[in-house]
Symmetry: C2
């Protein structure tokens, strides 16, 4: 009996496959005439392929079952389309958000399962919106520079339309022409008009917000076959009357004079040729969904546009870039405004990985990410992924040391990532020398963060916001995001005279970027990233050199961090290290105050308590701390008189919006030029069950600057066995071909290329 | 070929089993005459049984392979017996510690594997010690009240002998009589004498230290068949000359006048009949190894003592007790001095579970713990466990709500644990109303901690120490352990007039204990623990009632916490809640100071910064916080004028020895009597990947004290649906039989038993 059943299934499968092939050929021949539906994400031929494989592709089937269960539960709950009232986190916001997510899924289920209850559900809800929408004024909450109608900002209204367009596409043929006309006239057209013509300051920009807006309009335009709307989506509104000095809620410019806008401009501008998105990975992740879902739709409906080849295929490239901007757990580096914890497990990255695999040449490495994600898109891209996994094609996604340029042409600095395997986990340096990053950028030129596996060793604070947690300012940006998180002192980089880079001025910051000096990972034992910043403080040149050194006499690779400062006048320089964990020991004296006062008055300093202050006697300053059962030591070559400051985040923070994390600041006063040289070791571990501490002490005996002038810096790192490593870096010539000759401590060294080491 | 080989193995196995049976019968007949070796932990017959099963019992075989690899690596490294110099964490300390652990294992390997290289290794190292020991003065580090020779304290010297006795027992027959005499004369006898007669202040006590000392002497006595030493071990030294006012480093009394000492007294005194060890679970864990390993040895060598039946079988009972004193991850509740993270994965608990299983009637629940532990003892107990697991006999170890009495007779208060399954994890209340707990006790009468799964919701701070992390005071107790961790304000309990219980006086504290009032878990929806403290503050009665309430209108069980205070004079009362995580919102106004000052001058208050202060307007005070992706809310019925204080640990902590954790304190001033009533909810969660916050708000509309006099307290908890739950508690009669009648808000309630609820 069972045997016979299997044969039957096989026969059915074969039949379906042949139907599917027929459907495909029909589709191709029909396309020129009338647009069929669905055609954006699901296509008629894709649906046939999917149906033919149902039951044969485990990950696809599992995802389908999960989505079905989720949608069925929502259908059982009934339709709720409340009058909009709340900010994010509140009931009406979350309800409408849930509605659009479920509508999209219900549409897909209708197509794949051929069950009309899903189409009916979509239809009923669309008509509920069709009834509500014309009655709505702008949203009652007033915080946004571009208020929506269903939501407090047009951004969320756009999210809605991006998803709902797909649902409409799926039930298009289920509806009568009259019904479609009614929906389009009362809901979709006015909806698209409101977020475009009705809000040019939102729609006509280069910004992740506008990307959503453009795509929302573009998606519904594709369903409705409305070429005028599509043109607006791709190229923006012809006229907008935007004041070139106007700014949004985050302090970003709305639009520079003469700037190109629309979807294509949003691909052109913020993406560098390497696929780095100037706002940073957190927002790249957010924008990925509209970018890719619209690209997929354009590819399906307007294949002649060859959207995936646009700008040298940057959209597909950006997927790999984004995946590489993660720690060992898949969490994005929180550059600029980024909420920690966001990772490639987000639904946007499921889309990115699926689309990237299908349209980008079936990279088997993406399959291993998809496997971790444990779900796929319910379309042809997801089917391809699931089949690839089923067929055992997955290969590990190995993250390598890599540099990503910033800027539309790749000429505005960038981000360098150095990775080296340690005894327990990978050590990862994220070095930032990019452009401002639009309104979500931080004033943190030459800043960095440092990881061991998924643990932060030296943190980037990220943003000051609890996304969608209503009690915290409606889940929106908190004022501490401006007063703390964006300020330079909140980052592991140089602050001059307690003032942020570019005086914290967005206009000036937006005109400038750091310059990459060197990114060289050709020697796995000496990986180097280096960049220069000339504009953060006019008259002052900052040059940072970071080297990830693999040396067998150490348990783990260590980080050598060098900053040279040259100024035309005397200044105070602060270099903070936001170490994660609890202080274990120091080798220097400091005093802890009886009362805590704020470290400074403004520019973020008002948010730091001074927990301790010491004055260096000129020998190395050593700080060992402990976090997640591991030890870390910072050893700094400091000068006599340098101030060594323990800081704690949390001053002037009456709502407890900031984390009470620690920082260590090396302060040099009244200096024109300064050199900071530090080594960061990860060493040993502590097991609270066996209570054994292993390798709890630093292995560094001494760090010394043995040479320093305008042209070279030389550093010697001596370990406990008195073995010395010399690293000399040319500061003026990063060419791999230049020959150098230098006398250091009476020894003459000759080499070719930007650095010497032994 | 393969088939034939299998048959051969079977034959060999059968032969081994029969040999083993023979050996056993021989052993039994021989025992009366000359003591054979090994006989303490491994026995001749046990070894034969083990050999017969080798290759057939996966977990045993895996453990054996691991131990063999570990010992082989040490043998390859060579023998190091350095001249003692360091505190714990330092090289000589850790080396000698490693030596005794490896010696014991090498002895076992010699017996099980019949490979003389292990016996030789033990022999060589023993003779290295035999050469070194006679040359040693007392240890150069002077901090201990009982300095050892190999280690800085006799305690560690005793650890050494407990393990090395086993190694000696294993190689006893491998050595010549001359060699044995030499070892015993130059090493073992003087060693045992030094830690007993040489240090009566260490040996003749009731304390975990002395247990180690007694057992060390007892173990070597059993190997050497030295009845005089054995008698000292079991019953202590006859004379000791200890001053009854003398104290140890932790501030504990050495010995009360006339107190019984020795191993048996150390079983009698600190264990309650329920198997609760008065110092708390962290130290019970530490003492478990010597208690059980010596009991096993006595059972093997002196079965006529029936040591496992001693005091109603308390040693075996204590194993289950200890396992129940853990959170969902197996971590011990850090009552008194306890280092967080210590768990039933420690080697001591492997011993406890193995011994408990073998000698305590093969409880199948212990097998599931052993499975988690993933290793077994290499003796008959471990073999039995591994066979049980292999044969699929394991059953889940279900932790239940349970009360453990404290005090040798079970009359000195206790610890009550309430557990209730929540939507995600179990909610666990640990309520402490025990005796002082010897020198490791904290001044925390009626304190509690609260867990959700393995996460702390309201923490017990634990100790102020980094065990074995040398940089932190040699890994020993830090001065903040006395100035902070032991003080009352460091705990979730009432502090009167900023003074610790018993004025922080150990002598007075040791004379007193709280009184259990009620422990009733007969109704799974209303589990209650309640206790009274009359002596912490003379003239003041403290009565705490804690109820874990399961109410279907809430997402999770919630905790109702009631404290009534009655005093003969006006006082200030502080009730802190050390919530773990970041503040999300409050419903009351407070001001955050521009500079942080310490909350008080002494008794632990000097370690708290005042981060915020509010004055209650008399409505409920509500505090919501966020930790590990979950929300928690404390709702307190407070009175107008009550002070609401945000505190942060870390003032006057120049070495960063304390964690910067938060606390919330409800302060009532100038009151004779006071009532504190609070509800703690766990609700909702936040997913940083989907960025969705679910159930982020408290479900409690109001908490009200509707009745309060000397005899009763009545509380109404109203949820957001206006549903009210009334709980009335008799404060004077906890009998289950008494009938009560009470008018509350003009309604008359009648019930039988200590409480009413609807």
């Amino acid at each position: 009996m069972k045997f016979i059943k299997n044969i039957q299934i096989l026969v059915v499968a074969v039949l379906l496959v042949s139907v599917s092939c027929n459907a495909q050929s029909k589709t191709t021949s029909k396309k020129a005439k009338v647009q069929e539906h669905p055609s954006l994400i699901l296509t008629k031929s894709g649906v046939e392929k999917i149906k033919a494989e149902l039951g044969n592709v485990p990950l696809f089937d599992e995802t389908l079952a999960k989505v079905k269960a989720e949608v069925d539960a929502e259908i059982a709950n009934g339709i709720e389309v409340p009058v909009p009232k709340d900010y994010s986190g509140g009931y009406t916001h979350e309800r409408h958000k849930r509605n659009f997510l479920i509508l999209q899924k219900a549409g897909v289920l209708y197509q794949i399962l051929d069950d009309e209850k899903y189409a009916l559900y979509v239809k009923d809800m669309l008509f509920a919106y069709e009834k509500l929408y014309p009655t709505l004024p702008v949203h009652p909450q007033t915080r946004s520079y571009a208020r929506g109608k269903l939501f407090w900002q047009c951004l969320n209204d756009s999210n809605w339309l991006v998803y709902v367009s797909q649902a409409y596409d799926c039930v298009y043929d289920f509806l009568t022409e009259k019904e479609r006309k009614q929906l389009e006239k009362n809901l979709f057209k006015p909806y698209a008009d409101f977020i475009s013509k009705g809000n040019p300051q939102f729609f006509n920009r280069v910004h992740n917000h506008s990307t959503w807006g453009n795509v929302a309009v573009g998606m519904i335009a594709l369903v409705m076959d409305d070429s005028e709307l599509l043109n607006s989506a791709l190229n923006g509104l012809k006229t907008d009357g935007i004041d070139p000095n106007a700014k949004d809620n985050d302090g970003g410019y709305i639009k520079k004079a003469g700037q190109k806008v629309g979807f294509l401009a949003n691909v052109d501008e913020p993406f560098s040729p390497d696929g780095y998105y100037t706002e940073g990975p957190y927002y790249q992740r957010y924008a990925m969904y509209p970018f890719l879902v619209f690209a997929e739709a354009l590819q399906n409906v307007k294949p002649e546009m060859k959207i995936f080849e646009y700008k040298n295929g940057v959209l597909l490239k950006s997927i790999n870039t984004l995946l590489n901007l993660t720690d060992a757990d898949g969490k994005f580096f929180p550059l600029n405004d980024g909420q920690k914890g966001m990772s490639y497990f987000s639904r946007e990255l499921v889309t990115a990985v699926n689309v990237g695999y299908y349209f980008g040449g079936n990279q088997p490495e993406l399959l291993s990410i998809a496997k971790e994600q444990g779900e796929v898109l319910l379309d042809e891209t997801g089917l391809a992924i699931a089949i690839g996994i089923r067929d055992g094609l997955a290969k590990p996604f190995l993250k390598k040391s890599v540099e990503y340029t910033d800027g539309s042409k790749g000429t505005e600095g960038g981000v360098g990532i150095l990775r080296a395997q340690g005894s327990k986990d990978e050590l990862t340096l994220v070095s930032k020398y990019a452009a401002q990053g639009l309104s979500h950028g931080h004033y943190d030129k030459l800043s960095f963060s440092y990881y061991e596996g998924g643990n932060e060793v030296l943190q980037d604070y990220g943003l000051a916001r609890f996304v969608n947690i209503q009690q915290k300012g409606g889940g929106n940006y908190l004022k501490e995001n401006s007063t703390w998180a964006k300020q330079t002192i909140a980052h592991n980089t140089i602050v001059q005279n307690e003032t942020s880079h570019f005086s914290g001025n967005f206009e000036i910051g937006s005109l400038n970027h750091s310059e990459k000096y060197l990114f060289d990972v050709s020697d796995a034992n000496i990986q180097i990233v280096s960049a220069i910043e000339n504009n953060a403080y006019p008259g002052t040149k900052l040059h940072r050199i970071q080297v990830l050194v693999k040396d067998e006499s150490f348990e783990n690779p260590y980080l050598l961090d060098i900053v040279t400062v040259n100024s035309d006048k005397e200044n105070q320089y602060d270099l903070p290290y936001y170490f994660m964990g609890q202080v274990i020991s120091t080798n220097f004296k400091y005093t802890a105050p009886k009362t805590l006062t704020q470290l400074g008055e403004k520019n973020g300093y008002q948010h730091l308590w001074t927990e301790g202050t010491g004055i260096s006697d000129g020998t190395n300053a050593k700080l060992t701390w402990f976090n997640k059962e591991r030890f870390y030591t910072l050893t700094s070559a400091v000068s006599e008189g340098d101030e060594l400051i323990f800081a704690r985040i949390g001053a002037n923070d009456p709502d407890f919006n900031l984390r009470r994390d620690a920082g260590f600041i090396i302060r040099k006063k009244n200096q024109k030029d300064a050199v900071y040289v530090s080594v960061v070791e990860s060493h040993g571990n502590y097991n609270p069950v066996s209570e054994i501490a292993t390798n709890a002490f630093s292995s560094i005996k001494n760090v010394e600057v043995v040479y320093s002038d305008d042209a070279y810096i030389g550093v010697v790192i001596e370990n406990l066995n008195n073995e010395k490593k010399l690293i000399v870096m040319s500061l003026k010539d990063a060419s791999k071909k230049t020959a150098h000759k230098l006398k250091v401590n009476n020894m003459e060294y000759q080499w070719v290329g930007p650095y010497y080491n032994n």
